[in-house]
């Protein structure tokens, strides 16, 4: 949803309004700290790619922001509101404005795809069945699923279709902020490219802010406006892909200037 009095952002132009602002976030399990004193900003209408080695806590940070994991210290502001200080109503209001795509899709297995997409509408909005059905089909088409997928059960879908259906559910209420946990993992390169393209197109059409945990170098190169690297329990560095190429930290160097990455960059230049 876009508001009046604000100019549409051109690609590459950065808004200075933080949709998400994390300060000093510390999360631990037992006596092991996973995240320590972590700061992160996500700006309006950008696609932020979040990378980091396996087990460095990318998903933990996402879950901490969503309130699924308890944090030990720090402050997380979403849409300018401190999540620890919101009343239950304000919290529900914020939850209506974000959408989440979980790594495994997390579609409700006892509902079909159409009903899955309608769950947030049915629970949070006052809509007629006709409009809900039309919106479900519209979202389904927007994420590139065929119409006959609407009446299928999640167990009848392929991996790529599950991701798309789950994205359609995340987009059901036209959120301002979407969290994507490894959206292109497990997809073939063509499917992954199409998915990247879809995310970019939806961002441009709907003005979404996208927080994307990913390992896909192609996604990082082609659609991410900014990249944040997680390591040593904090955000090591943020910046555009070109800035990443200049960073001297060994892990960042290995990630963006390793053999695979360089091959990718060469293709870019060709």
């Amino acid at each position: 949803m876009r508001e009046a009095g604000e100019q549409a952002l051109k690609p590459g132009q950065r808004s200075e309004i933080e949709v998400l602002k994390a300060r000093g976030v510390t999360v631990g399990f037992g006596d092991k700290l996973v995240l320590e004193n972590l700061d992160l900003d996500v700006y309006r209408s950008e696609i932020l790619g979040f990378v980091g080695g396996s087990g460095t806590g990318k998903s933990v940070l996402m879950r901490a922001i969503l309130g699924l994991v308890e944090k030990r210290a720090g402050k997380i502001e979403v849409f300018g509101e401190d999540l620890d200080k919101t009343s239950p109503e304000e919290r529900a209001g914020i939850e209506r404005r974000w959408g989440v795509l979980f790594q495994q899709g997390a579609l409700f297995s006892s509902l079909n795809v159409r009903q899955n997409i309608q769950v947030p509408m049915r629970e949070h909005m006052n809509m007629s069945q006709r409009l809900m059905d039309e919106m479900a089909l519209l979202k389904l088409e927007m994420v590139g699923l065929p119409r006959d997928a609407a009446e299928k059960a999640p167990s009848e879908l392929s991996g790529g279709m599950i991701k798309r259906a789950s994205l359609a559910r995340a987009l059901a209420l036209d959120p301002d902020l979407v969290f994507l946990d490894e959206p292109t993992s497990g997809l073939d390169p063509i499917g992954a490219a199409a998915f990247d393209d879809l995310i970019k197109r939806l961002r441009d059409a709907l003005g979404l802010t996208v927080y994307m945990v990913t390992h896909d170098l192609d996604s990082l190169h082609s659609i991410c406006d900014r990249i944040a690297v997680l390591g040593e329990r904090r955000v090591l560095v943020t910046g555009t892909i070109d800035e990443m190429m200049q960073v001297d930290h060994p892990w960042v160097k290995a990630y963006f200037r390793g053999e695979r990455a360089l091959r990718r960059a060469e293709q870019d230049e060709v």
Partner: protein
């Protein structure tokens, strides 16, 4: 700084100027105001006018729901033969409106679920087919078990002893406390209820016969079987079902292992060993409970109780009960495994089949108990 903005209500006003109808749309057209938007559109009857102008200059907020409803309005006008043009569409909404216009969901039809005598017949027929399939599935597993068992007879090392032991531990040793407690209470209740009734005839001592025969022949094994069906049967179904959901069964097939040999046989064997043992424990603790209650309520001391019990029951009475146990175990195990293998992808189906497994197993256990009663009566035991 708060990004949360006050949401203006959607507005819609129409005005006629000769042939041309102007529809001015304003305010916030978002999903949060969907009921208001729908009501506005229902109130607006697309009349037959040649030209329609939709003036969007007042729109402050727009999302896919609002854009879709405006798109639908345009479609309604065009269906009536009007020409529609948009004016005042702000630049920042253009890509959104373009995105919506490139999609055409099919015309909406409300779903109607028919109810008729044919539907009832169809449901009954389908149910019968399901029962037939169940029987075939049980036969399939029994056949496959026979193959596996004959293989084990030839080569005993193929029997998975550790698996059987683990399953035995879960379904027998873990169940001892609850089975013993339940039978203790049942033994006590039977003696107390029967004892007071028999006392009115001055025949209180016969309560020992009543409890002894009833517990050993029927109650001990039957209640144990029901408890095991609820405890182990449901666990088997849920385990096999979730393994099926997560493709673990397929992995076993691909590695070249038989599901019957690896998963079903150990469970079934463990249950067939466990149930007679549990039934025996249940018999003992029910008699113990019965003895305590007759002592406390009817003043029959333990020595007299034992002496009377010795006259009332024979070893045959015990065997009649225990003989049924392995058959009941087999029925519980088979039904649990068949239901487990029928689980499909959803969490709902896992729950459904676990319930079905317990219900079918308990029902079949009681049916088989009845068949045994007829059998023992006809051979005169």
């Amino acid at each position: 700084m708060t990004i949360q903005a006050a949401r203006p209500a959607p507005t819609l006003t129409t005005s006629m100027g000769g042939e041309r109808m102007t529809v001015a749309i304003g305010g916030g057209w978002t999903i949060h105001a969907s009921r208001e938007m729908e009501d506005l559109l229902i109130a607006l009857k697309p009349g037959v006018s040649g030209f329609v102008t939709i003036d969007m200059s007042g729109v402050t907020h727009l999302d896919t729901a609002g854009a879709w409803l405006i798109h639908r309005l345009q479609g309604d006008f065009e269906f009536k033969g009007s020409r529609v043009e948009f004016v005042g569409l702000s630049d920042k909404f253009k890509s959104l409106v373009g995105e919506i216009e490139s999609h055409h969901p099919p015309t909406w039809k409300p779903r109607i679920r028919g109810r008729s005598i044919m539907g009832l017949l169809e449901a009954t027929g389908r149910q019968m087919v399901e029962i037939g399939k169940d029987v075939v599935a049980v036969c399939h597993i029994v056949g496959s078990l026979a193959v596996v068992l004959s293989g084990i007879l030839v080569n005993p090392r193929r029997l998975r002893g550790i698996s059987v032991a683990v399953q035995f531990d879960r379904s027998c040793i873990g169940a001892v406390p609850i089975v013993a407690l339940m039978s203790f209470l049942i033994g006590g209740i039977i003696s107390q209820q029967g004892g007071f009734y028999l006392r009115t005839f001055g025949a209180d001592l016969y309560v020992v016969d009543l409890a002894g025969v009833l517990v050993l022949r029927e109650i001990g094994v039957l209640l144990t079987a029901i408890m095991v069906a609820g405890r182990s049967g449901s666990a088997f179904t849920a385990e096999l079902g979730s393994m099926k959901m997560r493709e673990e069964m397929d992995a076993l097939h691909v590695i070249g292992l038989r599901v019957t040999e690896v998963l079903i046989l150990p469970r079934l064997l463990a249950l067939m060993i466990a149930l007679p043992i549990l039934a025996f424990i249940a018999d003992l603790s029910a008699l113990f409970g019965s003895g305590l209650v007759t002592w406390a309520y009817l003043d029959i001391p333990p020595q007299i109780f034992m002496q009377r019990l010795n006259e009332a029951v024979t070893l045959e009475t015990l065997w009649v009960g225990l003989l049924k146990a392995p058959f009941m175990a087999m029925i519980i195990g088979l039904i649990a495994c068949v239901e487990g293998l029928k689980v499909s992808g959803s969490a709902e189906s896992l729950g459904l089949h676990t319930t079905l497994s317990v219900v079918k197993a308990i029902f079949m256990v009681i049916v088989v108990d009845g068949l045994f009663a007829i059998f023992f009566a006809s051979v005169g035991i």
